[in-house]
Amino acid sequence: MAEAGTVLYYIVTLFAASIRMAVPLTLAGLGESFSERSGVLNIGLEGIMLSGAFFSFMAAYITQSIIVGVIFGCFGGLLISMIHAYMSFKCYVDQVIVGIALNFFSLGLTSFLFMAYFGRTTTVPQCPVVKPIRIPLLSDIPIVGDVLFNQDIFVYFMIFACFVSYIILYKTVWGTNIDAIGEHPKAADTVGLNVKKTRYITAIINGCLGGLGGAYLTLALLGFFMENITSGKGFIALVVVILGRRHPFGVLFAALLVGAAEALQYRLQTLGSGLPSQVFIMLPYVVTVIVLLFSIGKSSDPAALGISYKRSSR
């Protein structure tokens, strides 16, 4: 009996950890879903998250305020996504290449500024982290309640953001407009929808949510920053978007799946199996590739994905 209870508790805590691991992926994935539905492929998501993580950390470290950290996290993400938008919509540079270049830019900028500010130190600078918020009643449910309804504000925001995104994309004219622009921008243009403006708006959403996703790493999961802290999470979020078919709850589900692999990875590392830790660190990346294989042939991309719209092209 006690044995079974321990196993159950173990599973539930693992699930709770999976949820936390899923937060950055879901938030970034939601933003990218908006962007891709409107026809903009932003491979620079990694850079967006990294920038969000860095600026949120710096702001929270300097002001000791999490709220300021969150705001600067959004700002950091926006910085990268706006450059992407400008380069793609205004200069008509290939969106994928802009994304690749921005990942470089973001990686360099964040680690340069971090090193410049802190120098070579032996102690890791820490920033404040968010505290869990206990939801009354629900959190009193034995075992499950404590882990599922005693989470931090980002987790609740993630659920909220999924619902709001769902309503916008599926229940409003805005969602229809975004889909029309991603599928047939010229048709949308001829009925007077502003293709560029809409894509800028989805780029703003993408930057903010991606920046928040990055901020979650520093302001909730870790409490510190280091070079390349995202280590590929932005790319994993891109896979989450594909597997979730750009549907908010699909993205959430896919993020939970990859999040579980990550949570499991940390557990296995601490278990002390005698294997090098790299065996486990690999796990989320391997799972991501496998997940990608499962989505073969299932998702159909918006027809204009990755192609910037030019009106007077003849």
């Binding site: 229940k171 409003t172 004219v173 805005w174 229809t176 407009n177 889909d179 029309a180 599928e183 047939h184 010229k186 048709a187 949308a188 243009d189 001829t190 009925v191 007077g192 929808l193 027809a303 009106r311 007077s312 003849r314």
Partner: protein, 506 residues
């Protein structure tokens, strides 16, 4: 008082003057044809009116006010609607979503499906434009999509409708139905501008014609006071060339191209039980409305897709499992319908495009090494033979005109001595000069004894040069008729709409 006046519109694109002081006047309740060849500047003029392009010089007066629309939205809000040649519909959205796209209706920003569906149903009844508002666009036929486009404009209270080549994709019966709709629109007080190069239609339906040539006004005449010959003279400066259909076909056992019971994708019935023979010295035409399996048929014959059932013989050899290259060696030439995406590599130059099908053959290459000296010589020769206008052999093919691009394709395909030519929409988008050039080459090749399969949605083209005509509908051959003076066009029209006809073998 005219409803719409365009005065001295001038528009220059890099290197080409698209509209050179063009003027146009349209009255209320008038159907006005804008007649001209491809490249005469008709669509550009209308795109300027509709706010897609901005004019360099000129005035537009719409309902007594000078206007200058900066975007289609401005035009729509002023009561002007345009149906483009390539429909501007989002295939993944429903009819209702497409019709209301961009409109801020009651309840904005939330969807208001019920009201929208009701409104559309009412509107479609009023004008006899039948559609199911809940259906996805991707599931609709071409005719239905056109009705959606017209509804889209009417839903936005369009008083003036601009229709760009509206009948290009319709069967003769659908066209008649479409003319009925136009008459209704006229009766309700709408003005209509039809952009077209089809003279018979102009005569049949319009009140007035404005003819453009090389971006300039040629004439404006009342339809009742003109005739086909005069319009043709205005449009191209001479009467249209008529091709004589040849009376006799060389009887031969050895047919160039034979299809026996070919089927593709049993579930979707993309192609079902297709059988015909293209004899030597014959142009065999496949007529039909676009999207009835023509493309798939061409790809099955070329070996780009593999059929599920049936047999394909080229020069007597079974080609069912053969790749494109094997078929090519057996004598097949393939002129695709999509120059830019399939026939050419736009980022490569003329020379490189000239060897696209033969780069791995001698004398162009030996043991994988391409001999660019030989390639250049041959290219120069073909440029001369086919009168291809290009600044040089190393010019990016992107910079050539459509007609010259098509000539490159035809030179490439026909220069190596094929026995069977598969020509898919070979004149689509070309001006009349280039079109006649291409048709003449096909006729010459027939006279040399080649087997030619011409797939075309342009019935006029099929009738003017084919010896026999098959009609394809929903992936089936519904009938094969012999071309000649006694050809019943009405019957072909019915077949294009799916009515079963007869089959003749010679």
């Amino acid at each position: 008082m005219p409803n719409l006046q365009l005065k001295d519109i001038f528009k220059e694109f890099p290197g080409v003057i698209a509209n050179d002081n063009v003027s146009l006047t349209v009255e209320k309740g008038e159907i006005h044809a804008l007649l001209g060849e491809n490249g005469a500047g008709k669509t550009t003029l209308m795109n300027i009116l509709y706010g897609i392009y901005t004019k360099d010089v000129g005035t537009i007066i719409w309902k007594d006010e000078e206007v200058s629309f900066k975007s289609p939205r401005d035009a729509i809000e002023s009561g002007i609607g345009m149906v483009h040649q390539h429909f501007m519909l989002v295939p993944t959205l429903s009819v209702a979503q497409n019709i209301t796209l961009g409109i801020k209706d009651k309840g904005y920003p939330f969807n208001n499906r019920k009201k929208v569906v009701k409104d559309i149903t009412e509107l479609s009844k009023k004008y006899g434009l039948q559609v199911d508002p809940t259906q996805l666009i991707s599931k609709l036929s071409v005719g239905a999509r056109q009705r959606v486009e017209i509804l889209k404009s009417l839903y936005r209270n369009a008083e003036l409708l601009i229709l760009d080549e509206p009948t290009a994709v319709l069967t003769p019966q659908e066209t008649d139905n479409f003319f009925e709709i136009l008459k209704k629109l006229k009766k309700e007080g709408h003005s209509v501008i039809i952009i077209t190069h089809r003279i018979p239609e102009v005569i049949k339906i319009t009140d007035k014609v404005t003819i453009l040539k090389d971006g300039k006004n040629v004439a404006t005449v009342k339809t009742s006071e003109t005739n086909e010959n005069e319009l043709s003279n205005y449009m191209i400066g001479r009467s249209l060339k008529t091709f004589s259909s040849r009376e006799e076909v060389i009887e031969s056992e050895d047919n160039g191209l034979v299809l026996e019971h070919v089927g593709l994708n049993k579930k979707l019935k993309t192609l079902t039980d297709i059988s015909f023979q293209v004899k030597k010295g014959e142009i065999f035409g496949i007529a039909g409305v676009d999207g009835n399996g023509q493309k798939e048929l061409a790809e099955v014959i070329a070996g780009i897709r593999k059929p599920d059932s049936g047999t394909i013989l080229i020069a007597g050899k079974n080609m069912n499992r053969a790749s494109f290259k094997t078929r090519k060696k057996a004598g097949l030439a393939y002129i695709t319908d999509d120059r830019h995406h399939e026939g050419l590599v736009l980022d490569m130059n003329v020379t490189e495009n000239m060897i696209l099908k033969d780069y791995d053959q001698e004398p162009f290459s030996k043991k994988s090494i391409i001999n660019y000296n030989v390639v250049r010589e041959k290219t120069e020769q073909r440029i001369k033979d086919y009168d291809i206008k290009t600044p040089g052999v190393k010019t990016p093919i992107r910079l050539l005109s459509g007609g010259n691009q098509q000539k490159v394709i035809i030179a490439r395909e026909l220069a190596v001595g094929p026995s069977v030519v598969l020509a898919c929409q070979p004149t689509r988008g070309l001006d009349i000069g280039a079109t006649e050039f291409v048709r003449q080459i096909l006729i010459n090749k027939r006279n040399e004894g080649l087997s030619i399969l011409l797939i075309s949605a342009d019935l006029e083209e099929i009738v003017s040069i084919c010896d026999r005509i098959a009609v394809i509908f929903e992936g089936r051959i519904v009938g094969i008729v012999k071309n000649g003076a006694d050809l019943d066009l009405n019957k072909i029209g019915l077949m294009m709409a799916g009515h079963i006809g007869e089959t003749v073998n010679s």
